[in-house]
């Protein structure tokens, strides 16, 4: 397979791409980083290509790729098999969260942080926290918005917790499944440089949702502008993590398909945040107080009240 790939990529100047082409192939580790003069690069190249070259300097990625095959060797009906998905320490989880909140332009989240050790701890507990944060913040924000009104009586709105849970867990697990299936299908037609396992995609999605936790807390502020600014901000951050992860995986494909894939990823992400904001958080000032109309002409003052 390696020989075929060499022939396939012979036309490229970047020797670095040979190694990035098939991560599962046995490779010789390169000690010094491959120096590629920048002026040789096409100006119109996407920033994602640089991250492949950049990461080749670290021989960690080679080693981890080699070791990847040895990791999950327990049969799937044993407990040890599932323990391999929780093989993370506290500092690793914190690092991954940091990487999702501060995306470095050009760095691929999966290659940089996950490095063939996808974990299920992060996605699961970030989703759980997000579910309860959205439900609690929505409840609190509604409480503060409707506080002064005489007809308002506080309700805990507990049913929304189950709705939030269904939505968020479905998003965090079904969308990666669909995306993984789609990437596998395209991979069979077009040899992509980068391909991800299902768990790595779940990991990216899970960690990219982390930014919504502080956003949901800040959404308690009952100002429409503030909420939309916050949403745009968090959408940009988590969207960029997703885009920078998936663009290298589809950019060798048909241009339109690549753009459509990345566009769909971002669109679904945006839909999730807009939907959560609309459903769990009542719009501020939805009931206008009876407007004060000064009676200029002496006729009966018509006050509008809801």
């Amino acid at each position: 397979i390696t020989a075929c790939l060499v022939m396939h990529f012979a036309e490229f100047d970047d020797a670095a791409n040979l190694l990035a082409a098939n991560p599962d192939a046995t490779t010789i580790s390169i000690d010094e980083p491959v120096e590629i003069p920048k002026n040789q690069r096409d100006r119109l190249q996407e920033p994602g290509r640089e991250e492949d070259d950049e990461l080749l300097g670290t021989d960690d990625s080679d080693k981890t790729e080699l070791l990847a095959g040895q990791k999950k060797s327990a049969p799937f009906w044993t407990f040890e098999y599932y323990q391999t998905f929780f093989d993370v320490d506290t500092y690793q989880v914190l690092d991954r969260i940091k990487g999702s909140v501060f995306p470095v332009p050009g760095k691929n989240f999966v290659r940089l942080y996950i490095r063939s050790n996808p974990d299920l701890y992060g996605p699961f507990w970030i989703c759980a926290t997000l579910v309860f944060t959205i439900a609690v913040s929505g409840n609190l924000s509604n409480f503060f918005i409707h506080l002064g009104k005489p007809t308002y009586r506080y309700v805990p709105e507990f049913r929304k917790v189950s709705i939030a849970a269904t939505t968020i867990y479905a998003y965090a697990w079904l969308v990666p499944l669909a995306l993984w299936g789609f990437l596998m299908w395209r991979n069979s037609k077009v040899m992509n440089i980068v391909s991800y396992s299902f768990l790595e995609i779940v990991c990216v999605y899970g960690y990219s949702l982390f930014i919504y936790i502080p956003t949901a807390i800040l959404w308690i502020i009952p100002q429409k502008v503030v909420r939309w600014v916050l949403m745009m901000f968090s959408l940009c951050l988590s969207g960029s993590v997703l885009v920078m992860t998936f663009w290298p995986a589809v950019r060798d494909d048909n241009r339109r398909i690549a753009l459509a894939t990345v566009g769909t990823v971002v669109l679904l992400h945006a839909l999730l945040s807009v939907g959560c904001l609309a459903y769990f958080f009542d719009a501020p000032e939805v009931d206008f107080p009876a407007p004060f109309i000064p009676a200029h002409n002496g006729t009966a003052v018509v006050t509008k009240s809801r």
Binding site: F79, F86, T129, Y154, V155, P156, F158
Partner: protein
């Protein structure tokens, strides 16, 4: 016993003897016949065990009694009483009210199971039911908080009552989390303690939220 592998007994030496079990040497873990004792003794023994564990939770010291002799009676009683006390909340429609009995039950038990699985997957050495036992028993401070909240709400539901309830629930939430962490933290690998403690924190936070937002009819 590897050294005995090549020991052979020649066949003309008869091996004989007597094996007697000395009567009356009970170890504490050995099962003794409880069929003949009065029912009261049986019930009182279990009740005493449950009560002793309640005391251990209220004054958490690192003792292994809670872990060694686990039982799930206490958690069941606490869960049912908490779920019952959370009933009777006000709601205009079913969708907006507080949690139903089944929802509280499921949250507590499913949450405890998930946390136990989480700590075991992260490499914890505690057994499944021991962890369930600890998590269930540490709901006791929150049940006390619920009781206090209901009593305070009988007196009135204004701002002062809310502040009192908030303080009580906060204190009991802290107590629960600290108590369960005190029992469970030792069995976790040292560089993953925070990963195990956080879900426990989330679990008791959700229960505290349900207690705090309870509004009577």
């Amino acid at each position: 016993f590897a050294g005995l592998a090549d020991v052979s007994i020649s066949e003309d030496i008869p091996v004989e003897g007597e094996i007697t079990v000395p009567v009356g040497s009970h170890s504490p873990d050995e099962d003794f016949s409880t069929l003949d004792e009065p029912v009261r003794d049986t019930i009182m023994r279990d009740l005493k065990a449950v009560g002793k564990k309640f005391v251990h939770v209220m004054y958490p010291k690192k003792s292994s009694t809670l872990l060694r002799d686990w039982d799930l009676w206490g958690p069941l009683v606490l869960c049912v009483s908490l779920a019952l006390m959370l009933q009777g909340g006000s709601a205009d429609s079913k969708d907006d009210g507080g949690p139903q009995f089944a929802e509280v039950f499921v949250i507590i038990w499913f949450g405890a199971v998930v946390i136990t699985l989480n700590s075991k997957l992260l490499g914890g050495t505690i057994s499944f039911f021991q962890s369930l036992c600890v998590l269930g028993y540490c709901v006791l401070p929150l049940t006390v908080a619920m009781l206090v909240c209901r009593l305070v709400l009988l007196a009135g539901s204004g701002t002062i009552s809310f502040i009192v309830r908030l303080l009580v629930v906060l204190a009991m939430f802290g107590w629960s989390t600290l108590a369960s962490t005190a029992f469970l933290a030792d069995s976790q690998p040292p560089n993953r303690k925070a990963l195990v403690v956080y879900p426990i924190f989330l679990f008791y936070f959700v229960i505290s939220w349900m207690i705090l937002t309870f509004t009577p009819q």
